[in-house]
Symmetry: C4
């Protein structure tokens, strides 16, 4: 199958990855209502077809925090990408760099920030608030030392949501994977992955967490260490503590509510990712795209606004930008592509988004993406 | 299959129970429109994601009629539970007690209130209005003697609704079950159930009704006795008669309409279960969740309000509480779990609801369930 | 399969009848949008659950044009019923009489009005406006002579709509049936029908039309005679012509529009069937139930209003009456039942509607069907 | 299968054509949201059933630019029709002429305007704006010389949209077809087509483009020449250039927006096709039918308005005319019919549309199609 769309990479990943991993990427929490809303609410928005405008020049570049983007898209932090393809974070970071878009490394990446930085420009760095502040401090300092330009501080995971698919598939985090694969035929049924990742993609530790789990030689309990370390006592005041260690831009990820957006601004955040964690945390909350306009109204002038959740095409990107986002992040889109075919597939997927965005700009008469606004949308 | 959600217990029950019993639990009346609305209307409500609130302390306990609930959930009266697992009412009552939530015994339970009380705290007691008032009086006195703290008086069954699935499956109530199982292979196809319930779970009488059907040694015609005894002449005035025998709190179950809610209050009821009998009575009526806010407006300050119908997760529980319920009752959720795996499964199902409620509280920033209100919901 | 609902008779008819006949009954015109709307719009209406009303007395009888109905339901005119069961019109008329509801004989029935009247009370008589007025006159006089109490004058068939299913199934009206059955295995595949109807249910002529097609001994071209005789020049003025021959009540069938309803009143019609011919004529028009309230507003005080289209249960009947109908007619419901099991099945189907209507009345607190009104519905 | 409806021709084409061609005709761009909206929005419109009007006279003829139409329908420009049936454009043009409706030849037709004109009245001529203006000029002059009465200037293709189905099916335009068929079994699996079109329908060049691709003897790269030649710098000013060469009526095809409609008028266009290219260009834009009323309001008095997109029946035609179109064009409807059965099938399909339109007129009481207006629609 030739992949024509982001959805096709999903199908290819479904074939290549052990079920337990595919379900982990694909699923959302509980009944997956919010996951569905993310996609459906984007689909329901109508672009406004315009014709006979001179579209010779088409500028889809933008700039955020002084960093140029060749198009208004970035790779969202996705945990354990090193399990979807050999040293997955490195591969994705390379594809992103080649495409001129930022890659954001997850706290629970398989590759460390140092490993990624040896192969590609220093990634944006995503951080969860953990109970062990000493450890957090060292993580921040490592990212700073590696040259990460932006800190993405994820706030919608004070506690992990429950994803039914993971319970059903028997997934219990990275640590349980080896037994799991031994016990089942899931691995054997996917020899491409087995060879590429399982045999040749080691070590399968969570790079940033490895040090914290002292004395552990065996691949155990990284995720359970994480689960215990999510800190639900965090408040906006704690952002001060982060600020003292991190002097670069801080983007708060996981805000859906106007009051929270204002609070983030007041607490000194430089940007926001309007997000519900791709429908993986509290199921039943609104779609991120539906939250965007009101947040843009409230703080759009004062902060950089990003959106993630449900972006499946360049058309979706244009919709989000028309409603107030500076750029979009994609999560599953690149995780599927990575699982489907590593760096090359991520690169092709990004080309697809770019081509789609170009068509969307041409047929809405938008010559410069920085000018995208509500006039590109068709409302009754 | 590991059960991750309430829906998974449904699937497990489907496998374990004779079809005739599973359909009885699962079905609704007529075209099952109201059954669908109960679930769909809950699903359509959006929770409001909030972040960066100190959620260290989380209090999901509540108190009703002086009785503590460890969480705002109770087991709704479900008839014939002793057919889904051996002495099913006892098993469910034990699981409820261990979880710190109330169990409500149905008028048409297999186990008597005395049998349940020997194994667990005295259950809430559910009563249908029957024509034989002398018999009703004796039932009420037995419940009182057993120590039942609350009377649940079900008013939405002046006549039984028609459930097409039961007609199709050949179900004609408990009395017909033995022949049924002999004639078909339904029982043999479910050996786990056959051993547990059919052979070792006797007697299969309706505990509370058995005495009324005098002279009957054989397992016959309990339900047809019931069917003939539903009393459609009952009015609010008859509540006085009940009140004379029962001096504890009376909760009227089966109210959807504001006028009826006011009438119940005027007639001296202490609480209401906003309910359409789980979509098993008059098909085509509104969902119970859609009826809740207006009833809460009208009588919420003066009565304890409960909701049942369509509750399938802890997220649903939070939605109902945000709209004015003190607590929710679950019907099919526990009946499925009981059919799937007896007491242990009911206990696990309750843990699941609790864990889901916790996530929902943490991500809506609700530290105390007693404070839940409309500010936890996202409305446009 | 035991039939629990109207939908179950549909399934039984599907099994028993040659496909060509089943599709003829079941289908609607074009994309069947209106057929779908008839059912969906009824389903979307919410009944209002009321409790604790003394429902001992339940009166579902009504009276129209001095004729008592045991319940507010009648059998709509359905063409060629004698092909669904042996002498089908007679069987249905008997079932209707036993149930105390009117049966309306179609212009294109297999049995004549005289044959029906020998076996049951004289039926209501349905008439299409035909070009051959002399023939029409004789039909009206035969109906009058037979004692038909009411004339149903169908106005929504100035030209036949196209039903794609009939084209696909190869159905070309009654006349083509014999060849059709010879050529295909459709008849052989349905031996019950073959014996009952095809071999023993003769003659297979259209009773009322037979005389008009003079000289025809063979079963040919009745429907094509009909098709050529539909008269699209008819206007309200022509009702005068009918009135001169028919002095009993005239019910105009096939009105959806308020202006047409007013015109019918002005032209002297005594009643209306709000109808779109069961979605068999102009696809894309509104559902009959959605047309009812405005027509009831406009002429409800001055004419008897009936509704047909999409009635599948006693619950639907109550909804229609709450919105202004005096009674409902059912078309497919009885055609399916007749095809499924002849008179006995029609009788059981009517019992089902009655039982459903009783439950609906009891749980909406409606003691007398003549009092049904909008207060039985739940609107936001 | 006898084709009863436009949808049936689709099914027949699916069986007869190589998959790669069927998918090309059938598909839309991206997620096919707009393709779906075109059909769904037409379906949602309700016609207004009227009865008892004298419908003896029924006039469905109209006139545009002095040219009589026997009914308000035309065949939209569809590329490569000569691949769906032998010399497909000629066959379709003949069927259109016989039916008294216009045929519009696509820029990327297999047959040239001269070939079509030898067999049928000169077709309307559709033009894309190409970079090679000299070549465009010669095309316009050939069409003029051939006698084409109307120029259809398509403006919604400044760049080709991406159709995922074509990527997946491996379709890469006409040029790649031979290899494609050799490599796969797609051709062999469709012997009817293989014989009719592939072996006997040559040459398989794009008639109008052939000359431009100089020196090419082999069937190569026509479409890639086209793709490179789409000109996205075109503005309304360029219409002047066209006007200098073409002195007949110019219809601008591909306008959805009121501002664009006004600009087209100001630029001197004589007519508009309200269109989104059948959902094949920018996915996510509104349906053409939903765009029609506002464009009719803005410029309806001053320009001839046509609609295409989603027309699947004569009922749809009446809906579009009621909302302000003078006539409708059908794209897939005739492409499917052509693929299903050549000229004869296109002729039958047009008869079906005509018969459907007649029923729709009769049952909405519309005697003359030129009088169709909003009073034929039922709105709440
Ligand atoms: C498999 C997977 C793992 C993820 N891991 C993280 C993570 O470690 N940190 C984080 O902040 N977000 C994580 N996310 C959320 C993404 O950053 C992003 O918010 C989400 O995927 C956007 O929705 P989309 O997948 O519909 O594009 C993860 C998402 C997925 C699908
Ligand atoms: C199998 C079954 C039996 C029931 N039996 C009774 C009963 O005996 N008495 C009663 O008041 N309600 C009875 N109910 C209704 C429940 O108490 C409750 O109102 C309903 O199940 C709530 O909807 P849910 O199943 O969607 O949670 C029964 C429900 C089910 C599913
Ligand atoms: C098989 C069939 C034949 C019909 N024949 C006639 C007829 O001869 N005359 C008539 O006025 N209506 C006829 N109708 C329409 C019915 O009288 C009635 O309007 C319609 O069936 C009501 O919709 P329902 O089928 O959803 O109940 C027919 C309907 C069906 C289904
Ligand atoms: C297979 C196919 C080829 C087409 N080729 C052209 C074309 O060459 N030029 C053009 O202006 N429009 C073209 N169109 C668009 C049609 O002219 C028309 O706008 C569209 O098909 C209308 O939608 P419908 O298919 O739902 O009727 C094409 C459409 C299809 C389906």
């Amino acid at each position: 199958m030739r992949a024509a769309s982001v959805g096709d990479y999903r199908e290819l990943a479904r074939r290549r990855l052990p079920k337990v991993l595919f379900e982990y990427i694909d699923g959302g929490s509980y009944a997956e209502v919010t996951l569905g809303r993310n996609v459906a609410d984007l689909e329901a928005i109508a672009l406004r077809q315009r014709v006979m405008k001179d579209m010779t020049e088409l500028d889809m570049s933008t700039e955020v925090f002084g960093q140029p983007f060749s198009m208004p898209v970035g790779l969202a932090p996705v945990g354990m990408a090193g399990m979807y393809a050999r040293r997955g974070e490195v591969q994705a970071a390379r594809a992103a760099a080649a495409a001129g878009v930022p890659f954001c490394l997850s706290t629970v990446g398989v590759c460390t920030v140092e490993e990624v930085t040896r192969a590609a420009p220093a990634p944006w760095f995503q951080l969860y608030m953990l109970k062990d502040r000493g450890y957090m401090k060292s993580l921040l300092e490592r990212a700073k030392a590696a040259g990460s330009p932006v800190l993405v501080f994820t706030v919608d995971l004070p506690t992990p949501g429950a994803r039914y698919r993971d319970v059903r598939s028997g997934f219990s985090g990275l640590s349980g994977l080896p037994q799991f694969l031994n016990q089942t035929k899931d691995g054997l049924a996917h020899p491409g992955w087995l060879w590429d990742v399982y045999l040749n993609g080691r070590p399968h530790t969570l790079g940033s967490v490895a040090d914290a789990v002292q004395g552990s030689k065996r691949v155990t309990d990284f995720l359970s260490w994480m689960a215990k370390n999510f800190d639900r006592s965090v408040t906006w005041a704690d952002l001060d503590w982060v600020r003292q260690i991190w002097d670069g831009p801080i983007v708060v990820k996981g805000v859906l509510d106007v009051e929270d957006a204002r609070a983030a601004r007041a607490a000194g955040a430089d940007g926001l990712v309007v997000s519900n964690h791709g429908g993986r945390q509290l199921d039943g909350v609104r779609s991120s795209i539906s939250a965007l306009p009101r947040i843009a109204d409230a703080v759009g002038g004062e902060m950089e606004l990003f959106l993630d959740g449900g972006i499946r095409s360049g058309l979706d990107v244009l919709k989000a930008l028309s409603l107030g986002a500076r750029a979009c992040f994609v999560g599953r889109a690149w995780a599927w592509a990575l699982g489907a075919g590593g760096e090359a597939a991520v690169a092709r997927m990004l080309q697809t988004l770019r081509a789609e965005l170009a068509v969307a700009m041409i047929l809405t008469g938008c010559t410069s993406i920085r000018q995208a606004g509500p006039e590109l949308l068709d409302r009754d």
